[in-house]
């Protein structure tokens, strides 16, 4: 056993930190810091992807032949940690972490040539079209159909929770190409241009005022057969590949670390009876508890990255990250609100440019409740808390 980071990681971290400091435009950073991911200009994400691409850093986790950096899992961890720490926006995850890897692994040469450079350069957003109304966590029940007619598939159906669909140029969809075989077998993975005739997108207003998630209605949408990735009927396998691909993402570790730091900052600045809340034992205790949990979570992530041979099933260990990480996202943001007290419940306009500038409201108040509200979703999407626990009971204990 060896619990020390390699020496080169310290240098690597320093190198990344410097680079981000140089590259990250102040306005983008400031937008992220004050308003979080979704509230600031969505195009910041694409802009930032282009900037990263100049260093070859927009998809460092990809194989070198497709534009990756050949970094170790620990380096990738440090890289992402530094980016989040510096309030850099995420790249469009649908492209860089979901659809991209499926394309370079299973796609045709034509698909690789056409789509990978666009993903690397952040040319546009990708929408993820998996969920459908009424089947939530139950992909086997997928109903959106794709019927082959000559050179096209004709797609009909409805998707929901399609993030970014309203501003995406392309989407990757799971569709049923064969209703006659076993439910999992008849599913295919289709790339669809979101501007195609027959597609209607409705943004869903969310609890915190944003409307990033969408419903997508597909009405006789014609999709060229060459937009099918890999084999017809193998979509279920690709989807699983894609979901397994990032075993540690669901820990939200980078965000949990950053959000904890924000909580510590608020606690140091909010006063009660002339003393900062960070010195009031009850808040101090909650901060210590959350720091303990975040720290443990970080080490749970490191254990996965360093390929520990687990006593229990590996997928169960990954579910631990999701359960603990998503709950932490909620408890930390709840603490933000508690620290701010009554100042936590003002509703600021969702759009940044509509916001008033009042010296009575420290900028942390502008984002706290919008973050906290949308965090209720973190124990829901990507497999609810209950589904994760079912998985653990089954895979770890065979119950």
């Amino acid at each position: 056993m060896d619990f020390q980071f390699d020496d080169n990681l310290v240098e690597f971290r320093q190198m990344v930190r410097e680079a981000v400091k140089q590259d990250l435009p102040a306005d983008i950073r400031e937008g992220q810091r004050r308003f979080g991911g979704n509230q600031s200009d969505p195009h910041d994400s694409l802009t930032w992807t282009k900037i990263l691409a100049k260093r070859g850093w927009s998809v460092p986790h990809w194989p070198v032949e497709y534009g990756g950096q050949n970094w170790s899992p620990m380096q990738l961890f440090v890289f992402q940690d530094e980016l989040t720490r510096a309030f850099a926006p995420d790249t469009c995850w649908g492209g860089t972490h979901m659809c991209g890897p499926v394309i370079y692994t299973f796609g045709s040469e034509a698909q690789k040539e056409r789509f990978l450079p666009a993903i690397i350069n952040g040319d546009f957003y990708w929408a993820q079209g998996f969920s459908e109304p009424g089947n939530g966590s139950d992909l086997a029940n997928l109903r959106t159909s794709a019927t082959r007619k000559g050179d096209v598939y004709v797609v009909n159906g409805q998707k929901i929770w399609t993030s970014c669909a309203w501003m995406a140029e392309w989407g990757f969809f799971l569709v049923r190409t064969d209703p006659t075989v076993k439910p999992q077998r008849g599913i295919s993975f289709l790339l669809i241009n979101m501007k195609s005739p027959g597609i209607t997108v409705r943004r869903i207003p969310q609890i915190n005022g944003e409307a990033e998630l969408c419903e997508v209605f597909l009405d006789n949408v014609e999709v060229p057969v060459e937009n099918m990735v890999g084999e017809e009927g193998a979509g279920w396998t690709y989807a699983k590949f894609l979901l397994d691909h990032e075993r540690t993402t669901s820990s939200f570790i980078y965000f949990n670390k950053r959000d904890l730091r924000i909580a510590q900052d608020i606690a140091a600045n909010q006063m009660l009876d002339g003393v900062p809340l960070s010195k009031h034992p009850r808040f101090q205790g909650r901060l210590a508890q959350l720091e303990a949990e975040v720290t443990a979570l970080e080490w749970s992530v490191l254990r996965v990255l360093a390929n520990e041979q687990f006593q229990y099933n590996e997928t169960a260990a990954a579910s631990v990250l999701k359960v603990a990480g998503s709950r932490l996202q909620q408890t930390i943001s709840e603490l933000h609100l508690d620290l701010l007290g009554a100042q936590s419940i003002r509703q600021f306009p969702f759009e940044v440019h509509d916001r008033p500038n009042s010296p009575l409201w420290p900028d942390v108040t502008e984002n706290a409740n919008q973050r906290a509200l949308i965090q209720r979703a973190s124990t829901i999407y990507g497999g609810t808390m209950q589904v994760q626990k079912n998985i653990i009971a089954k895979l770890a204990f065979d119950l």
Binding site: P205, I207, R282, E334, L337, A342, I345, S358
Partner: protein
């Protein structure tokens, strides 16, 4: 001891539920967001008509002389539909101060009863967490035959739709005073904004606003006691709103669990979700009991009243968190949309909790007493 509704309460409740259910639909509430000050004029007129605005006013001052239990019954009904109209500020907090003022303001109380006047308390100040009795930065100074008010106030709930403001201020010699100010007075700059539940608040800067001497409602210890009592009454009514909201969440969620299908059966068949509902039921039941406990102490000494209230606030605050959080969880993705009731209850309960003093504040009040 009798926990069943009296005939009067039954009547109140029936008319309240009928009107509220019909009027405060989800769509209507969402549309109120676009109004200038959040006020629903039609509803307000109905409140007046139904006698709600007179309920808390003593009979000898032209009111109905209702008990705090009567108010709680009504408040719980409004909580069931996340009503965020300024009823408590006006009809509980405002009427209590105006009735208890050194010279009771019968004329203004009459206007309230008729629906023409609305009151907001302007008390919190920047840098405070949860306000105790004493303001610090806003002052009232003698100025000719009247006074001048100056200083900054924060988060005055329901001020945007109020016709009159009750302002707390430091007064030399007296320590403390409550002053009545017309909302359209010159000499103040106001920033209005919405809260998460759709209600409105304002930050108000008094730039030496001048008032007559008779604008002072009460001073010194009397003013302080009056304010604390009014605040406690308002908190108690908000706790009742919270309980009403939680009880409605139980209804919404149990219906959803029976209706929503997954893996070929209603999701309510899953034991894990059943147990979440059971947890929600237990704490909601306990929350109502806590409310009754606070009501039982509501007319006792200030110390007993406040301590009992804080105990209830702890139970109800924690229950509200569990119920609203799990309520969303049970709804899955739909729970975090603006299009389902549950997310509105979540924001409503969060707002009520944070307005009434959070758990830490109430723990301190219990611990110190």
């Amino acid at each position: 001891m009798d926990f069943n509704y009296s005939d009067l309460q039954r009547m109140l409740l029936d008319s309240a539920e009928r009107f509220i259910t019909e009027h405060f639909t989800l769509e209507h509430r969402r549309s109120l967001r676009d109004s200038a000050n959040g006020l629903d004029e039609v509803a307000w007129a109905t409140f007046a008509e139904l006698g709600w605005l007179a309920l808390a006013i003593p009979e000898d001052l032209g009111g109905l002389g209702g008990t705090q239990a009567d108010i709680a019954v009504l408040a719980a009904a409004t909580g069931g539909k996340c009503v965020s109209q300024p009823v408590i500020s006006t009809a509980v907090l405002g009427t209590h101060i105006l009735s208890g003022a050194t010279a009771p303001r019968t004329e203004l109380l009459e206007q309230i009863v008729g629906g023409a006047a609305r009151i907001a308390l302007v008390h919190g100040e920047p840098g405070e967490r949860y306000a105790g009795a004493a303001p610090r930065a806003v002052t009232l100074t003698a100025d000719g035959d009247g006074f001048a008010i100056s200083g900054q106030k924060l988060l005055a709930l329901d001020a945007p739709s109020a016709t009159h403001l009750i302002v707390s201020a430091m007064l030399e010699g007296e320590g403390f005073a409550l002053v009545l100010v017309e909302a359209d007075s010159a000499g103040m700059s106001v920033e209005n904004y919405p809260l998460l539940d759709g209600s409105r608040a304002a930050d108000i800067r008094f730039e030496t606003l001048r008032v007559h001497g008779d604008a002072v409602l009460a001073t010194g210890k009397k003013a302080e006691a009056l304010l604390m009592e009014a605040l406690d009454r308002a908190t108690l009514a908000r706790l009742a709103q919270s309980v009403g909201s939680m009880e409605e969440i139980l209804r919404i969620c149990s219906a959803y669990l029976k209706e929503r299908q997954q893996f070929g059966q209603p999701i309510g068949k899953f034991q894990a979700l059943q147990h979440i509902m059971a947890d929600m039921f237990v704490v909601t039941h306990q929350a109502r009991s806590a409310l009754y406990q606070a009501l039982a102490h509501a007319e006792l000494s200030a110390a007993e009243r406040s301590r009992a209230l804080s105990l209830a606030a702890i139970t109800i605050g924690e229950a509200g968190q569990l119920v609203s959080r799990q309520g969303i969880q049970l709804h899955g993705g739909y729970g975090v949309t603006d299009e389902y009731e549950i997310s509105h209850h979540y924001r409503y309960l969060l707002t009520l909790e944070k307005i009434s003093g959070d758990l830490d504040y109430h723990m301190s009040r219990v611990g110190q007493a």
